[in-house]
């Protein structure tokens, strides 16, 4: 950095300082990065790249307004640098400012038409804006720039599936295992992925890949697979064992790769719909999971003791796993359910798990609330509780799949551009007939959604 050194200060060349800043940011050493960025900005407040980097650091530290201000200034100072609008497209998307994100995305593509990442970022924005044809088209442009760009293929798949174009969507969906976050989901093997041709009994390995919700949703295809490859081995996480054990067909369930034994082919659970050539009209029906009767009775008795009588019991889940890529879009604060809490004829039964249960400590609504999360040991407990309530109100998380798979009436709160499986423009879902969908009418706006949910109970 230029300028006269003060006593005791170390002077670092600008390029070196920028390199160090980038390194700190990439290594997640955000406090140090923030400190360095602030010092660099103090010395050179009008340097576009410092502003850009400092904006990224602000964004990662959750100071979104500051991030946007820094990056906008950066772009204004250097309007022809394609990286800046490309970055800003993402930052605006994270802030829910989709019009500005679109403008930035288009500008990035205009400045760098050969940059796959710019096209991909723009495709994401089109998805968020529910412009699905555009999302597919722009994702394909990204793929044209870089045919091995897995994320672009996956984005194309999601747009196709959300639009209800399942057959086409499943093909692109196969790219999901090339995503960085998919590492370790499949076994390290030289055996092929199953193509749906018949196999001898016990020679197929089915892998419960992806999240709990996906596994619950696609578990309905296991009996179909068993018709072609009887008695397969099913590998899944320990949490899913008590659920997937209920599905007829598999010979064994295992939780470790070394326990799978020999097999001729493997298939991820999420690959079964493609092989089965599933369409919205041919999905195997829900109702394939059920809580054990004794457990249902036990929770029924407990709930009888814990809750005032004569009120509708509404189970509630308001937050998902914070590490989920779309958690910001789907997760609410408990306090946002005000219209529901104002009703005196209901009792709230929270079946929320994880750190977010702490929010129940600040609840003072009219409707009594029982925070059951601390005493829920596993999915079977949750499912048994759901059998003892009148309705579940939930965001898009694994519990909604439990309700759907066990035919429990539920209200699902969905973001403006939801996960592909919930499709668009409909209040029901062919996957789970007991669910009613409540969609955002504007991105990131939950107020009217919750009003509608509360009014319909």
């Amino acid at each position: 950095m230029s300028g006269a050194a003060q006593p005791g200060q170390v002077v670092m060349p600008l390029a070196e300082a920028l390199g160090r800043l980038a390194r700190l940011e990439q290594e997640g050493r955000l406090a140090e990065a923030d400190d360095l960025a602030s010092r660099m900005l103090a010395a050179m407040p009008e340097h576009p790249h410092i502003l850009q980097m400092a904006g990224i650091v602000s964004h990662r530290l959750g100071r979104h307004e500051e991030a946007i201000a820094r990056m906008e200034k950066s772009a204004a100072l250097s309007p022809d640098t394609p990286l800046y609008p490309r970055n800003m497209c993402e930052i605006y998307r994270g802030a829910g400012r989709l019009d500005e994100a679109l403008r930035a995305g288009l500008r990035a593509v205009e400045l760098a038409p050969g940059d796959a990442r710019s096209h991909f970022n723009l495709a994401l924005i089109h998805y968020e804006r529910r412009e699905l044809d555009e999302a597919v088209r722009v994702a394909e442009q990204a793929i044209a720039c870089d045919p091995a760009f897995a994320e672009a293929h996956f984005e194309k798949a999601e747009a196709l599936l959300l639009g209800g174009r399942l057959r086409e969507g499943w093909e692109s969906y196969e790219w999901r295992f090339k995503l960085k976050q998919a590492e370790g989901m499949l076994p390290k093997t030289d055996k092929p992925q199953w193509d749906g041709t018949p196999l001898d009994p016990g020679r197929l390995l089915i892998v419960g890949d992806q999240g709990f919700g996906d596994c619950i949703q696609f578990a309905r295809f296991i009996p179909w697979a068993c018709l072609l490859a009887p008695r397969p081995v099913l590998a899944c996480s320990a949490e899913l064992m008590p659920l997937l054990r209920q599905i007829p067909g598999p010979a064994r369930l295992v939780t470790r790769w070394e326990d799978t034994g020999e097999y001729d082919a493997y298939i991820p659970l999420s690959g079964l719909p493609r092989l089965a050539e599933a369409t919205l009209e041919t999905l195997p029906p829900a109702g394939y999971l059920a809580a054990p009767e004794a457990l249902v009775r036990l929770w029924g008795e407990r709930l009888e003791r814990l809750m005032p009588k004569g009120k509708k019991r509404i189970a509630l889940v308001w937050a998902g796993r914070p590490t989920h890529k779309n958690d910001k879009k789907r997760t609410l604060k408990l306090a946002q359910f005000g219209p529901l809490f104002a009703r005196e004829d209901i009792v709230i039964v929270t079946v929320q798990k994880g750190e977010q249960i702490a929010q129940a400590g600040g609840y003072y609504g009219r409707a009594p609330l029982v925070n059951l999360g601390p005493e829920i040991a596993d999915f079977l407990d949750t499912m048994a509780i759901l059998q003892n309530v009148d309705r579940l109100v939930s965001i898009d998380t694994s519990v909604i799949h439990l309700a759907g798979a066990s035919n429990v009436p539920a209200s699902l709160l969905l973001p403006y551009a939801p996960d592909w499986r919930w499709l668009l423009h409909r209040e029901d879902t062919p996957w789970y007939p007991s669910l009613r969908l409540y969609r955002q009418t504007r991105p990131y706006q939950w107020e009217d959604v919750i009003l509608r949910v509360a009014a319909d109970i």
């Binding site: 400590g361 600040g362 609840y363 003072y364 925070n371």
Partner: protein, 592 residues
Amino acid sequence: MRCCDMDEAQWPGLEAAALLDDKAIEATQLFNDKKHEEAAALALKILDAVPNQRAALRVLFEIRDAEKRRRAADALGARLAGLEGPAALRAQANERFAYYLIGLGRHAEAAPYAAAAVKAMPRAAAAHHIMGMVLTETGALQAGERHYRRALELLAREDGMILANLAWNLKMQGRLTEARKIYDRALALRPDNSRGVGGLAQLLFTQGARGEADAVLDDALARWPQDRLLRMLKVMADLAQGRVEAALERLGPPEAQLPPEILARGRAHMLAGQPQEAITAIATARGVQRERTGQSFRPEELSARLESYQAYFTAERIQPLPRARPGAFMPVFLLGFPRSGTGLLEQLLAQTPGFAPGDEVAPVAKLTTAIPGLAGGAAYPQALDEALIGDGAELPERLREMYEAPRRAMGLARPEVGFITDRAVSNVWHLGLIKLLYPEAPIIHVLRHPYDLLLANIAQDRRLEGDAQAGLPGLARYYDFHARMLRHYRGQLTLRYLPLRYEELVARPEEAVGRVREFIGLDAAIPEGLAGNALPVAAPWPGHFAGRVAVHGGAAWRFRAYEAALPHLFKEVEPILAPWLAELGYDGEQGA
């Protein structure tokens, strides 16, 4: 004081100490002759040479006590009590020091000295008497009763003072009829016992015999017109019955008043709807207390406790711990910051079928002191981990039994009683333990506007944890500790929890009590005339029943008048309380 911090190991043996006995006798004589300066000088000289010379210690202790030089008296009394020697002398020294601490209201500190006196002379009535006082005033009522009765047995005759103390103990247990009879015996023997007469008056108030109580106090004041305690009792009776002018007149000119009296003046103005005068009096009283005793809010212990309990009582850690099986009755925990209205709710519930009022007797907090002993010595709450190992699984069961035993002994647990209310303020700290003892006990949280709580508490002559009563900022921070602890527990535990607003309780008492009953699983039908708060209730009765008056909303939203009259009154506490006002829903039109 020059010898306070001396190393005990350096003290000479008893034989060496005896060499100065003659000098010590001389010092004692000087003291008896009221030549305190000379006596103290001589005692100091002796103690410089022999710091454990018993008689010199005693002389100097008495002189420092008379001079109110507390630190010196504390050190001397403790040293005297710790001396080896004949049992009678040890008992005498420990009794004396325990009595000194009792006189200062430091009952818990007096406990080990009272106990040492009993152990030294198990057949000494005086030692048992003092032990009875300590236990009674620290809430161990049944144990206190046992020691009073033992003292009477050992004396083998009636003793007016012990009987009066026994009567007070029984009154505290809510055994009012028995207490009344014993007061009659006590005061027949010792009609000069003004404290006993005051106790009788309070008993009569609790029984609802207000006219009789007033008459007893009037007679007593005629006999002892300068007795400030009796006068205060009469003032409190006046205030309870709305005789504000009479109370103010009785209190006399403010400049001659002690802090409890100035606080009573403040409460009188509060009742009269005079914010300016009320706050002036209260601020004066708290200022004098600060000046004289150095009382100010001490958050350190509360902060450490909050941190420790938040770290231990998490969903993951509590879930695997064993729970006690259902007991003989179900406690209903009436949770609330002091002055939030749990007393009123207890009074009203006690007038509906199935309830007995357990007040604050034998609180769960007491169990926490026993847990390390029962669970292998680790500190609470970590000691609860022992419940995971072997016979430790019985720990919750044993603790539940310890919780129930005093309630049975008091006659609270009866066949027709399904629910015993427990309104100990300390319960907010111990919901984690309560969860292990009574996993499904109803918890009714009485909410009240925090500013009203601050006003009610600042005006009370009642010591709170950490001396939070010393000022509004301390009270606000104490409230913050309570609220944070409760929020933590509610987030980490499955509780059968119902919030109930004081403002709604006083506005629509039948509806509010009906809601509570319904929540607990009982029929919501309410006896006619409940709002009059004068329906019969089976004994035992807690002391706060003395204040039973018809439900009224006079104290709800009181802070509004204070804000209007004194716009800056709550400015300092606003940043502390604003988040809670918002969370509780007191920040809208209904609120501040």
